[in-house]
């Protein structure tokens, strides 16, 4: 009996262990499944500086029903009506033909990051074009591509493209040096 009881006791422990391991695996799977079900796309698993809470808040901005009842889900700016601008006929009239036709080079401005200088082209009394004559370019564009890209994101080295465009987007046009140089160019062009 004593020789039998030992394996039987051992079997019981083994069974209990098997049960516990199975239960643990099953439990883990259920938790994982629930997490996958509610946590959204796999990108959520990647740690991001912004907590999920803030992203939810962000999403609500777009999904929340508008306060006033517009016909469609318009962006926030359109819901909050702005007082209609007061027209300024005198101010705009003065602006007509404010500048003399020609090309005017602005002063060179030494801003923290280097020298900026622009040229304004005036046609029919209006600004037709603004060109950069000087701009700091100290940062080398040596490219070291890290192929371990983030999920869904793609990397590429920037490359100059054909300039056949209608509009240009860039922060350069609000840089201090640009504005100062353009203002000095326009001061020269001004009809006295």
């Amino acid at each position: 009996m004593s020789t039998n009881s030992s394996p039987r006791g051992f079997n019981l422990i083994r069974s209990a262990q098997k049960f516990l391991v199975s239960a643990f695996v099953l439990f883990t799977y259920v938790i994982y499944a629930l997490h996958e079900r509610f946590a959204g796309p796999p990108s959520e698993a990647v740690s991001v500086a912004t907590p999920t809470e803030s992203l939810r808040a962000t999403q609500q901005v777009f999904t929340a029903p508008p306060v006033s009842p517009p016909t469609q889900a318009l962006p926030v700016a359109s819901q909050l009506k702005l007082a209609p601008p007061t027209p300024l006929p005198t101010a705009t009239a003065i602006l007509q033909g404010l500048y003399k036709d020609g090309e005017y080079t602005g002063d060179r401005y030494d801003v923290i990051y280097g020298i900026v200088q622009v040229k304004a082209v005036i046609q029919n009394g209006k600004i037709a074009q603004v060109q950069f004559l000087e701009y700091p370019n100290d940062r080398r564009t040596s490219v070291r591509i890290n192929t371990v890209a983030m999920p869904y994101l793609t990397n590429e080295a920037i490359q100059a493209q054909n300039a056949n465009v209608n509009i240009i987007s860039g922060a350069t046009l609000t840089s201090e040096g640009f504005i100062l140089s353009l203002q000095s160019a326009l001061a020269t062009a001004k009809v006295s």
Binding site: V76, L82, P85, T174
Partner: protein
């Protein structure tokens, strides 16, 4: 009909393709930008925002326009986890928010006058509607942050907004709230395409302040795409970005 003027301390360009475009229509939009400048310029002592900062008026006494901006500022601060905050050292400077909002409203003014094909651009931020003179989508170039005479990407857009935030933004409204003194130097340019310029601009500003993480923030925003350029000239773009690039569409 196309015209550029220097307003609000930046070049503002309007182009209306519709044959019915008039000088008067364009003037009314430029007048709107002047009105916004008088109201919100922190450089003008008598602007409403300056009066508010000098405690000469209370938020309750502010005009409807200023109250709207204050409400939008609070909402944006929450939506971006504090990355976009108009209050610095106790003073309110909503310039970063006003710009996109003003462009959006300027475009609405053109729309209300019946125009369908136009764009409004201020300081490199754009609201584009309808088609260009060739009857195609508007072609928007992303400026090379290392060489302003060059573009590095051509977008094809219609009825949406495009905004670019960069290192050289005049009046730094962009800072990292996790480390207020830290300068954002790792990335130099972040372009965001959004449902309109108000949305694109405020999220471009906030995402830029996040540094490299900003592009992931944009990836996770529904209806937004982004193109980030770092200081090595390496670009990272979101999964839907190629839908807006010119090569993909032609």
């Amino acid at each position: 009909m196309k015209e550029t003027r220097l307003l609000m301390g930046m070049p503002v360009t309007l182009e209306v393709i519709d044959a019915s475009a008039t000088e008067t229509a364009l003037n009314s939009v430029f007048a709107y930008f002047e009105y916004i400048d008088r109201k919100f310029s922190t450089y003008k002592d008598d602007s409403e925002i300056s009066l508010l900062n000098k405690r000469q008026i209370t938020p309750e006494q502010a005009s409807e326009a200023l109250q709207t901006i204050l409400a939008l500022a609070e909402q944006t601060k929450q939506a971006t986890n504090g990355y976009f905050d108009v209050t610095h050292n106790g003073l309110c400077d909503p310039s970063g928010l006003v710009k996109g909002w003003a462009i959006y409203n300027a475009a609405e003014l053109l729309r209300q006058q019946g125009f369908e094909n136009f764009y409004v651009e201020a300081g490199g931020d754009i609201q584009a509607a309808g088609k260009n003179a060739q009857g195609e989508n508007w072609r928007v170039g992303i400026r090379n942050p290392f060489n302003p005479n060059e573009i590095v990407k051509v977008l094809s857009i219609s009825d949406c907004g495009v905004a670019t935030s960069g290192t050289y933004v005049r009046g730094q409204h962009i800072y990292n709230p996790q480390n207020a003194g830290q300068l954002i130097t790792e990335i130099v340019s972040l372009t965001v395409i959004g449902p309109d310029i108000y949305e694109a601009d405020r999220f471009a500003t906030a995402a830029f302040a996040m540094g490299r993480e900003g592009i992931r923030f944009i990836e996770r925003l529904a209806g937004f795409e982004g193109y980030l350029i770092d200081r090595h000239g390496l670009a990272t773009f979101t999964s839907g970005f190629r839908r807006y690039t010119y090569d993909a569409i032609s």
